[in-house]
C-alpha cells in the first residue's frame, strides 16, 4: 500500500511541475509575482519528487500503474522502483534547491527586454519531462517524455536569443537532441520488434538473438550517450551549458545528464539483460576517453561556465567507467563486484549532481554580480563574496575527489572495483582494467589541478578588472541554495555507509545481488569487498583532520603571549609594488599542462610584436580537435547530399502529396 503511495506522490510531483509552468502564465503582467509563483510550485514539486523517490528507494519494491490516457491501444504505463526512485530523488533535490536559487537569479531579467514567460513555462515542462522519463514504463511514453525534456530545454538554452552565439549553441543542441532521439527510437524499435507491445514488461520478456541485442545496445549507447555527453558526442555540452541561465545550466548539467545515464542503465540492465563483456569494454573505453579528454579540455578553458561544462563530460566519463566495470563483472558472473561498480557509478551520479549544481550556482552568482564570465578578468572575489567563495571551495574540493568530501567516496569505490580486475582471468580484460584505473587516476589529478586554477584565479589574488570590485554576495535565496548543496557535499562524503545502504536496493533489483558486505561493519566503516581488503572510515577521517588542526593551533599559540599578526605589503622577493597584471593568468597557469599534452588540442599561438606606440598582443586559440575531425566532415557531407537531392524539392504541393502517398504504399507493402 505504501508503495502505490510513493508512485502517487511522484505523479503529483509531475502535476505540480505542469502547474508551475502553466499557472504563472496568468500573471504575465506582473513578472515579479509570476517568477515567484513558478519557483514556489517548482520547489514544492521538487520536494514531493524527492520524498516519493526516497520512499521508493527505501521500501525497495516495484509497483506499476496503468493510466487510461493516451491512444486507445497505447495506455501510459508508469512505474516506480528503486532505480527510478534514486534518480527521482536526485532530480527532485536539485529542482528544489534550484527553485530556492531561481527567484533572485531571474531578477535581472525582470524589467529587461525579455519576458520571463517562456522561462517559467519551459522550466516547468523541462522538469516535468525529466520526472516523466524516470517514471515511464513503456517505450511510447518514455520517448514522449524524453522529447518533452529535450525540446523544453532547447527553449531554455535559447532564452537569451538576442545574441547570435546563443542561437548557434541552441541550434547545435537541438540538432544533437534530434539525432539522439532518432537513435533511441531505433533502439526501442528493435526491442519492440521482438516483443508484443511497447511496455517495458513486454520488452523485458522478449528474446533477442545476440546480434540483435548488440544492435539495440549500440543504438541505445549512441542515443543516450548523445544526451549524456560522452566523447566524441559531447560537442553540444560546452556550447549549450554556458549560454543558458545559470540555474538551468545547473539543472542541465547536474540532472539532465543523469537522466540520460538512468535511461542507459534501464535499457541495458533491465530491458536488454544478458549483458556481454564486449559491451562493458566499449563502455569502459569510451568512459575513460571521456574522463581524460573532458578534464584536459576543461583545463584549457577560461570561460567559467564552459569549463564547468567540460567537467561534466569528465564526470560522465567517470560514471561510464563505473558502469563499464560493472557490465564486465556482470557478464563474467562476479555479481558482488558488479554490484560494487554499479553502486560506485550511481553514487557518482548523486555526487556529480550535487557539486556540479553547486559550482554552476557559484558561477551564476559571479555572473550576476560582476557580469563577467571570463576568468581572466576575475580575481580576489573571496573578499567580496565570502559565502559564495567558501561554498565554491567545497564544490572544488568535492569535484577534485579529495577526502573527506563526497567525490572521493565514489572514486574510491570505482578504484576498489577496478582493483578486483585479476578475478577475471582473461588477458584482454585484465589489461584493459588497469588502463582504465590509470586513466581514472590521471583524471582525478588533472581535475584537482584544474580546480586549483579555477579557485586561485577567480577567488584569490587581486581583482583583474574594475567590475569585480563591485561584486558582493548575492541575495539570501542564492546563498541558501549554495550552502545547502555544500552541506550535502560534506554530508554524503562523511556518511557514505548510509548512502551505500540506501542505494543497495538498485543492484539487488537489477543484478539479483546487493553489496551487503559494504555496510556490515557499522556506520563508521565502508568495506566494499571485505574488511581485510579495504576499508574507509570517513567520519573518523573528518574528525581526525579537525582534531589535528585544533591540536596544532593550540600547540602553536601559547608560545608567545601576543600573537598579533602584522599586515604589510606583499614581499615578493622585494621586487617593488605589485599590481594585478603581474599575477599569473588562467592561461599561464595551465601552460605547462598545455605543453605536456599538446597533442590533444589544436593550438594556435601567436605573438604580434608591438608596433610604434602600440602594445604587443598575444593570441591563443585552442580548438576541439574532435570538432574538426568528426563534425566538420559530417557537416560537409550532409550539405553535399542535400545539394544532390534538392532537385526532388520542386515546391509543388501535389508532388509532395505524391511522395507521401507512395511512401505509405511502400510501407504498407513492407508490413503486410
Amino acid at each position: 500500500m505504501d508503495f502505490t503511495m510513493a508512485l502517487i506522490i511522484a505523479e503529483s510531483a509531475v502535476l505540480l511541475t505542469l502547474l508551475s509552468s502553466v499557472v504563472p502564465l496568468f500573471f504575465l503582467r506582473r513578472p515579479y509575482l509570476q517568477g515567484r509563483l513558478s519557483f514556489l510550485l517548482l520547489g514544492i514539486s521538487g520536494l514531493t519528487a524527492c520524498s516519493g523517490g526516497g520512499m521508493a528507494l527505501m521500501l525497495r519494491t516495484s509497483e506499476q500503474m496503468v493510466l487510461p490516457i493516451g491512444l486507445p491501444w497505447l495506455h501510459v504505463f508508469l512505474r516506480l522502483d528503486p532505480l527510478s526512485g534514486f534518480f527521482l530523488f536526485i532530480v527532485g533535490l536539485i529542482t528544489f534547491i534550484a527553485a530556492c536559487y531561481g527567484p533572485a537569479y531571474i531578477r535581472e531579467y525582470i524589467g529587461g527586454k525579455l519576458s520571463i514567460g517562456p522561462l517559467t513555462l519551459f522550466t516547468g515542462l523541462f522538469v516535468g519531462g525529466m520526472f516523466l522519463v524516470l517514471l515511464a514504463a513503456d517505450a511510447f511514453s518514455f520517448m514522449l517524455a524524453w522529447e518533452l525534456m529535450s525540446v523544453a530545454s532547447y527553449f531554455l538554452v535559447v532564452f537569451q536569443h538576442e545574441k547570435p552565439e546563443n542561437r548557434h549553441a541552441a541550434f547545435i543542441y537541438l540538432l544533437m537532441a534530434v539525432v539522439g532521439g532518432a537513435f533511441l527510437f531505433l533502439a526501442y524499435g528493435v526491442l519492440a520488434g521482438f516483443s508484443d507491445g511497447f511496455s517495458f514488461v513486454a520488452m523485458k520478456a522478449a528474446h533477442l538473438s545476440p546480434t540483435w541485442a548488440t544492435i539495440a545496445f549500440t543504438f541505445a549507447f549512441i542515443g543516450f550517450g548523445l544526451k549524456a555527453g560522452i566523447v566524441p558526442l559531447h560537442v553540444w555540452l560546452p556550447l549549450a551549458h554556458p549560454v543558458a541561465p545559470s540555474h538551468i545550466s545547473a539543472m542541465m548539467s547536474g540532472v539532465m545528464l543523469k537522466v540520460a545515464v538512468y535511461g542507459f542503465i534501464r535499457f541495458v540492465y533491465d530491458l536488454l539483460g544478458n549483458v556481454t563483456w564486449q559491451w562493458g569494454v566499449v563502455v569502459l573505453l569510451v568512459g575513460s576517453a571521456s574522463a581524460v579528454l573532458g578534464v584536459l579540455y576543461a583545463l584549457m578553458q577560461h570561460d567559467l561556465k564552459r569549463l564547468l561544462a567540460y567537467h561534466s563530460v569528465e564526470n560522465i566519463g567517470i560514471i561510464y567507467i563505473g558502469l563499464g566495470l560493472s557490465m564486465i563483472f556482470y557478464a563474467t558472473h562476479h555479481l558482488e563486484i558488479a554490484a560494487l561498480a554499479l553502486i560506485a557509478a550511481l553514487y557518482h551520479c548523486l555526487n556529480h549532481a550535487l557539486f556540479k549544481s553547486l559550482l554552476f550556482f557559484g558561477a551564476g552568482a559571479i555572473l550576476q554580480q560582476s557580469r563577467q564570465h571570463d576568468m581572466e578578468k576575475m580575481g580576489g572575489l573571496i573578499k567580496k563574496m565570502p559565502v559564495t567563495a567558501y561554498c565554491f571551495l567545497v564544490g572544488c574540493i568535492s569535484i577534485s575527489a579529495l577526502p573527506p568530501f563526497n567525490g572521493f567516496v565514489s572514486e574510491w569505490l570505482t578504484f576498489q572495483a577496478a582493483l578486483q580486475g585479476p578475478l577475471l582471468k582473461s588477458g584482454i580484460l585484465g589489461a584493459m582494467i588497469p588502463v582504465a584505473a590509470a586513466m581514472l587516476a590521471l583524471t582525478g589529478a588533472l581535475a584537482a589541478a584544474c580546480f586549483v586554477k579555477v579557485y586561485g584565479i577567480v577567488f584569490l589574488g587581486q581583482a583583474r578588472s574594475p567590475e569585480i570590485l563591485e561584486a558582493q554576495d548575492p541575495s539570501f535565496g542564492m546563498q541558501l541554495s549554495q550552502i545547502l548543496l555544500a552541506v550535502c557535499c560534506l554530508g554524503f562524503g562523511i556518511f557514505p555507509t548510509w548512502t551505500v545502504r540506501a542505494i543497495n536496493g538498485i543492484p539487488e533489483g537489477l543484478l539479483g545481488t546487493g553489496l551487503s558486505s559494504a555496510t556490515d561493519n557499522g556506520w563508521l566503516w565502508l568495506t566494499p569487498v571485505n574488511p581485510q581488503t579495504a576499508s574507509y572510515g570517513a567520519p573518523a577521517v573528518f574528525f581526525g583532520i579537525l582534531v589535528c588542526w585544533l591540536l596544532v593551533y593550540v600547540f602553536l599559540h601559547p608560545l608567545r603571549s601576543d600573537n598579533r599578526i602584522r599586515i604589510a605589503p606583499a614581499w615578493d622577493c622585494g621586487f617593488g609594488p605589485l599590481n594585478s597584471r603581474m599575477q599569473y593568468t588562467a592561461s599561464a597557469f595551465a601552460m605547462p599542462i598545455r605543453r605536456i599534452f599538446s597533442f590533444v588540442w589544436l593550438i594556435f599561438e601567436k605573438v604580434e610584436p608591438a608596433g610604434p606606440g602600440g602594445r604587443a598582443h598575444y593570441i591563443l586559440r585552442i580548438d576541439d580537435r574532435l570538432w574538426l575531425m568528426l563534425y566538420v566532415p559530417i557537416g560537409k557531407l550532409m550539405l553535399k547530399i542535400a545539394e544532390r537531392t534538392s532537385y526532388i524539392q520542386g515546391g509543388n504541393l501535389r508532388v509532395y502529396l505524391c511522395y507521401s502517398f507512395f511512401t505509405l504504399l511502400f510501407l504498407l507493402w513492407v508490413i503486410v
Binding site: P403, Q416, L419, Y455, W525, V552, L559, I565, Q583, I596
Partner: protein, 313 residues
C-alpha cells in the same frame, strides 16, 4: 584500544623525528660536497625560531592563506598516522587505505597551491602552476604503484600489504620490482628533491615548492616547512617499509617493537644516505624534462601491474 594508543604514540614520534630526517639528508649532502654543513638537528632550531617570530601577512592575503598551513600540516599528520612504522598491528590503518593516503596528500597539495596563488604575486602563481603540473603526473604513477602492491596481496590496506609482504619468502616478483622503481621515482618528485625540484634554491627559474611558500613567515612558515619535512619522512617510510618490509613488528610485544624501531631507524638512515648521494651526483632537470621522468615512473608502475596480471595471477 591499546592499538589506538600505540598508533597515536607512533605518529607523534614520526612527527617529532621528521626534522631530524631532513637535517640528516642535508648534513650528509654537505659532507659529500666537501662542505661543513649545519648539524642534523639544525631544522629543530629553525622551527623553534620561526614559531617564536611574528607573522607578517601580506595585505592582499585572504583567510585561505592563513588556513592553509594548518590544513597542510594536519592532513600530512593524518597521512603519516596511516603508515605502519614499527608495527602492522594498527587499527588506524583501517580508517584510510593507500588510496585515501594519496587523497590526503592531494588535499594538502590543493591547499598549498591555493596558498601560493592567494597573495597575487607572480612567483606564487608560478610555483602553484608547476606544483599542480608535476603532481598531476606524479599522482597517477603513485596510485599505479600502490595498485600493483594492492593487487599482489589483494588489499589496499597498508598494514595488510606490509604484513603480507614481510611474511613472504624472498622471491623475485617482477611486478614488485617495477612498482618499487616507480615508487622511488615518484617519491623523489613528490617530496620536491633533485632532479625535479631543489629544496635549497631560491632562483625563480627553478623553484617550485619554495616559490609557493615565499610569502609565509613566522609560525605559518614553520608549519609549512615542517609539513614538507614530514612528507619527506612519510615517503621515506613508505619506501623502506614497502620495498624492504622485513623488520616491521608483526605483533605488539614490547621487545619486538623496540627491535623494529631500531631497524626502521637504520633503514631510514640508509635511505637518507642514498638520497644524499643521488642528489650530489645529479643536477636538477629543466621543468619540461620532468614529464619524461614522471612518464617513466608511470610506465614502470603500469608495467608492474601488467606483469602482475599476466605473469603472476
Amino acid at each position: 584500544m591499546t592499538g589506538f594508543l600505540w598508533a597515536i604514540a607512533q605518529t607523534f614520534c614520526v612527527v617529532l623525528a621528521a626534522p631530524l630526517m631532513a637535517g640528516w639528508v642535508k648534513w650528509l649532502k654537505c659532507r659529500l660536497q666537501n662542505r661543513k654543513g649545519p648539524p642534523p638537528w639544525q631544522p629543530y632550531r629553525d622551527l623553534l625560531r620561526l614559531s617564536r617570530k611574528h607573522v607578517v601577512l601580506a595585505d592582499t592575503a585572504s583567510p585561505i592563506f592563513r588556513m592553509a598551513p594548518y590544513i597542510v600540516f594536519s592532513v600530512t599528520i593524518l597521512a603519516v598516522s596511516t603508515v605502519p612504522v614499527i608495527t602492522v598491528q594498527l587499527p588506524v590503518a583501517a580508517l584510510a587505505d593507500v588510496i585515501a593516503l594519496v587523497g590526503f596528500l592531494a588535499l594538502g597539495r590543493f591547499f598549498l597551491s591555493l596558498a601560493g596563488m592567494d597573495v597575487g604575486t607572480a612567483f606564487g602563481g608560478m610555483g602553484s602552476s608547476r606544483e599542480v603540473t608535476i603532481a598531476s603526473l606524479a599522482e597517477p604513477a603513485l596510485l599505479m604503484a600502490f595498485f600493483t602492491l594492492a593487487m599482489n596481496v589483494s588489499s589496499t590496506n597498508l598494514s595488510t600489504v606490509i604484513c603480507q609482504l614481510a611474511q613472504r619468502d624472498i622471491t623475485l616478483y617482477p611486478s614488485l620490482i617495477f612498482s618499487s622503481m616507480g615508487l622511488i621515482l615518484v617519491a623523489i618528485a613528490e617530496t620536491g628533491r633533485i632532479p625535479i625540484d631543489n629544496p635549497a634554491t631560491h632562483l625563480e627559474l627553478t623553484m617550485i615548492h619554495e616559490a609557493i611558500i615565499l610569502e609565509y613567515s613566522g609560525r605559518h612558515l614553520a608549519l609549512m616547512e615542517w609539513a614538507a619535512m614530514l612528507k619527506l619522512t612519510l615517503f621515506s617510510l613508505l619506501i623502506v617499509n614497502v620495498i624492504v618490509p622485513w623488520g616491521v613488528a608483526l605483533t605488539l610485544v614490547p621487545g619486538d617493537l623496540a627491535l623494529a624501531a631500531l631497524i626502521v631507524t637504520g633503514k631510514l638512515l640508509v635511505w637518507g644516505m642514498i638520497l644524499a648521494v643521488s642528489e650530489t651526483i645529479q643536477a636538477k632537470m629543466r621543468l619540461f624534462r620532468a614529464p619524461q621522468y614522471l612518464g617513466l615512473a608511470f610506465i614502470l608502475s603500469l608495467l608492474g601491474m601488467m606483469s602482475h596480471i599476466i605473469l603472476e595471477v
